[in-house]
Amino acid sequence: MKNVPDSNILLFRSCLVSVEYPGVESSTKFVFDKLGVDYEISEKQTCCTGLGHYSDVFTQIDTSAIGARNFKIAKNLNRPNLVMMCATCYAINKKSVKLLNKNDDLRNEINGLFEDNGLKHLTYEKNDLLPTENIFHVVDILYGKKDEIEKNIKYDLSEYKIATHHGCHYCKVHYEDTIAGFRDPNILDELVEACGCKTIGWYDHKRATCGTGFRQRYSNPDLSFTATADKMNALDEEDVEILIHLCPNCHIQFDRYQHLISKRENKNYKAIHLNIAQFIAIVMGGDFNKVIGVKSHTVPIDSIIKELKEVK
């Protein structure tokens, strides 16, 4: 497995986490603090351009120039390890670092624009950051601390039927860096196991998209929801109670639209949706309102988790 850092981390803020599931950010901080991970959040860092990039409004130059600015912020803070809460931010930033290192024309074009317009301080030098050594998702950091997680378990969630949904932009874009499989993705399953629980493992459509498809959800909702239904039906057949996520895009698609897709499919889906950081934070004793942020969820968390049982 690649080396995973636990210090000099810039925890990269996500636009969707900030406004849709802020509890993912507070849970990540809670878990990182418990595990002794050294991180900081910067008020200067801006969004990766995600939805703009994948709705084809931003060019690669636009996105990588914004990326170069964010990478400089990380370097200046001496926190070159960017750690993302969102799979889209992860894939976009890793691609920009790869391109800025490898493609001299792109790097020179962006640096030229910076130099000619009074932004020389943002210039990106080749290999300022390295894609495999510096660009991570929160799940990578948690995976590196699996043994520590096991030592911090307070509550037992092993009685629930748990499945995992691995975001495409963590697993499939830069698959050479994906920990614990991308054709049969298992990083979330292994993290759930570190919490003393079992998942159902493989299920039909396990590696399939959540169906968001960026523009598809907004401009082509029938196509989007039909793809999501494939997965929701598979999870329903397995009687899943908790679905574990690693990306706020997928989280929105499942949690916000479960009600609507349930009606479209004439089913009664019951799963609640938790980010892996929220799941681990619950197991470690995080408060549902002050840490987990349950008020931002559409499918109520207490429809499944009614009380917590301490581990024996």
């Binding site: 801006t46 939805l51 409004v57 624009l113 932004l119 498809g213 609507l260």
Partner: protein, 200 residues
Amino acid sequence: MSSKQNIDDSPIDFAEEIIHDYKNSKDEGVLKCVQCGMCTSTCPAARHSDYNPRDIIERVLDGDKSILNDDLLWNCFYCYTCHSVCPVGNSVCEVNQILKQIAISNEIGYDKLYEYMGFADSYFTAAIGAIPEIFFEDIKKDVPGWWEFRQNLGEIRDELELTPPLMPSKEVIDEVSKILTITGFKEKIEKIRSSQEVSQ
């Protein structure tokens, strides 16, 4: 007249244009396509619509530029499933994104971008990425309680003790706006906006 090329006039110059695009991370992957159809067999858009990734590469290798006008191109989910399973290291997902950028640079497909102008505005004027407000009515209708939650977001964030605040400083906004001006983003958005006004 067919837009297809013959083997004796530069059959791969369309593919070469894609290979040299900044977005391409697969070197000459597109030229290695063996038309096996693994991409199509695993594609969610192909499963539920007439979108066909294998066909996209065939048309690119045929030099068939009419593909730039094909509405089906816009059905790709950008899930990268094809990218992750291709046996010869091609990525239809990336090729699709490149084709769309070629289309847009030729002022094709602007109408597909109109709904996302709100994201462009929010990023340019406030350095914030956000779901465009144009979609809020649909979300309110489809998601029970979402609007009420959004009204209480500040309170919920306070309870979670989240800092720093959502709104970036003026200094950050100015720098981001400047970057998006010098990359040509601002000019392009203005052009798309003018075309939208003409179309209404």
